[in-house]
Amino acid sequence: MKIFIKSTSAITPQETFNKDAYLKEWVSHEGAYLKAVQPKYRDILDPKLARRMSKIIKMGVAAAKSALIEANVEIPEAIIVGTGLGCIDDTQKFLKNIVDSDEGVLSPTAFIQSTHNTIAGQIALTLKCPNYNFTYTNRGHSFENALMDACMHINEGKNHVLLGASEEATDTSFEFMYKMGCVGDLTKADGPTFGEGASFFVLSNSTADKKPFIKDVQLSNNVSQEEQAEELQQFLSRNSLGVEDIDVLLTGRIDHTDKPHFYDKIEEAFQNTPKVAFKKVSGEHFTASGYAVHLAAMMLERQDYFNKNIISGNLEKPLKHVLIYNNYKGINHSLMLLSI
């Protein structure tokens, strides 16, 4: 499989949206979780529309538009978005209104914008794009569901598919995730750090310039670490690659992760391979793997690792194959291979 990434754009808790400054200066965070560096939206969104948009929509639409501009594509043939929690800020607002008013007279605005497909819908509305428009919300495979669908569209003959993921963190969602034991408080270093962001891609079946491409994706659920290690071997062999062919491993490992043994097992196979901890940039969230694909594409295209804070081991150039391994709570596992 060769699904070309014609362009990509990401908003994360580090400077990634402005590609000239891509991960150059390390942004330090003081709060309990990582907040995305918000771009100057007025440069890319209609301020009238942006005012009504929640953070998840703004990040999604801005990253989507930026990727489309870079690829010089006006109307994609499909818009496919993954989000784990969706528009959690508006959901929480509307719920609070219901509770506070005891089901009284309510404004529908928050409800209208709480729907998971508001991101993809607003992108379509902004572009006036009448084409295929899907939203996946599948825990740790929300982005992966969207990616699989996007690849299928390219294989079916579509030329330009807009793929992306968007996730927002709010004080309330952090508080709940923290009390649920899903994430830690950055100031206490007592669990994986919560983050947010959006990553978008224009995928294509061909490209004039040398561009990174998605070569293979393998997803599994509810497997043991031995089974996952077996999946890895099968994955590499079906792509006629050995461990030594992987130039860098992008791992979803994050400090204080609750299922480190899965990462131990996979990383064990790549002892001499340099590793990049992409969640140092994105933080932990349902669609952090979307950022991993973005970073892999950036690394392959620029032949760079951008910042020493994210890498361990010595990276030898040229970079040809980048493997991503991520798992959500040891349940949803993803292997994604990008090459150039």
């Binding site: 819908g121 607003q122 009448p130 079916e156 649920m180």
Partner: protein
């Protein structure tokens, strides 16, 4: 893309009943399942809803779904189990089958109660109460209970969610990714959606009357339906029985407004057109349309115009079954897909209920259950975010 995709089983739970037989019986008897709420705790005690007539405890007992907190997951598990039994899939086939679930609000039924407690500072177990909030949770629960190991997908495109799982399932089979998919959706009633639609002023507090001149809005409903989709080879190899073919599907975006449909039904028209293209059929071959027909002024007007543009003067018999079940949001597409397959199996047109003065754009909808020769059925599902989907089911 030449592979054909067949429906080899289905399961359904709605206000009409807890299984396919009970749903069929109510359709044939023209008995609506819509009533005042008896399980949903809400201030709107007089608001008509299409409620599944069992408590969570009773549903747990019926399904054996011990430990499932969310009604959304319980209903989904119930329908998926029935679908698998109906198709007579073996454990071996189940292992590799994909599960695609469509839901609009997932575990909101549990979240909204727990969130209210949290705001009132009543101590709660956060992990237990909020773990099922996200849409993917119900998919995971259904897969675990059934013992599925294959691909899992969750789609949340509001009211077209489960129509879209069927479309995605068909494409997964055609692409050769898998040869068996359990696709459908589930949504439980919640005060979140009830208050949301109420705030939008598109609920009818009385029985809804889709395609009536004096329609006032929709009735919310709840339920779940799953269909087993299989490739021709898979059915043949295991000696399964095809019930219908999922011949066509299309999804398009209205790109007009976050919640309202364009007055001309542009997105709907494009979705229908795409479904015909995929099926390789012409509009005149359609014998029955199971319309989205929510009963809101906006939807029924816009959908009628899209139908009119597609079929011209030859609009086939059409109806909305939402006056039976209520609008079951994320589950609606799959529930109506089951009704479409039932129309093919029983050569019956299902009626629109509660019509006193039909809209005059495309003639009156079917008003009584009627026997008819039905080879191809078009089923529409439209949602917020301009999401428009159409499916075509053909007899076998």
């Amino acid at each position: 893309m030449s592979k054909r995709v067949f429906v080899s089983g289905y399961g359904i739970v709605s206000a009409l009943g807890k299984n396919a037989d009970e749903n069929l019986f109510s359709l044939q008897k023209q008995q609506s399942g819509i009533s005042k709420p008896s399980h949903l705790t809400t201030r709107y005690k007089e608001m008509m809803v299409g409620e599944v007539k069992y408590t969570n405890e009773a549903l747990t007992e019926l399904t054996g779904g011990k430990g499932i907190l969310s009604r959304t997951a319980l209903l989904g598990f119930m329908a998926a189990q029935e679908a698998i039994n109906h198709a007579a899939l073996s454990n071996e086939q189940l292992k590799n089958a994909a599960l695609l679930n469509g839901t609009s609000v997932g575990g909101m039924d549990v979240t909204e109660r727990a969130y209210s407690d949290a705001l009132k500072e009543i101590p709660i177990d956060y992990q237990k109460k909020f773990n099922g909030h996200d849409c993917g949770h119900s998919t995971q629960v259904i897969a675990n209970k059934i013992g599925l190991k294959g691909y899992l997908g969750t789609i949340s495109t509001a009211c077209s969610s489960s129509a879209n799982t069927l479309m995605h399932g068909a494409r997964l089979i055609k692409s050769g990714t898998t040869d068996c998919v359990i696709a459908g959706g589930t949504d439980a009633l919640s005060i979140f959606t009830l208050n949301g639609f109420n705030a939008l002023k598109i609920l009818d507090s009385e029985w809804c009357k889709p395609f009536d001149q004096n329609r006032k809005g929709l009735n919310l409903g709840e339920g779940a339906a799953f269909l087993v989709l299989e490739s021709e080879e898979s059915i043949q190899k295991r000696g399964g029985r095809p019930l219908a073919e999922l011949a066509g599907y299309g999804n398009a975006n209205d790109a007009y407004h976050q919640t309202a449909s364009s007055p001309e039904g542009n997105g709907a028209y494009k979705a229908i057109e795409e479904a015909f293209r995929v099926a390789g059929l012409r509009p005149e071959t359609i014998d029955y349309i199971n319309a989205h027909g929510t009963g809101t002024a906006n939807n029924d007007q816009s959908e009628s115009l899209a139908i009119s543009k597609t079929f011209g003067t030859g609009v086939p018999p059409y109806s909305s079954t939402k006056a039976f079940t209520g609008h079951t949001l994320g589950a609606a597409g799959a529930i109506e897909a089951v009704f479409s397959v039932m129309a093919l199996e029983h050569q019956s047109l299902w009626p629109s209920l509660n019509i006193t003065e039909p809209m005059d754009l495309i003639g009156a909808p079917v008003s009584d259950v009627k026997k008819a020769e039905i080879k191809h059925v078009l089923s529409n599902s439209f949602g917020f975010g301009g999401n428009c989907s159409s499916l075509i089911f053909s007899g076998v």
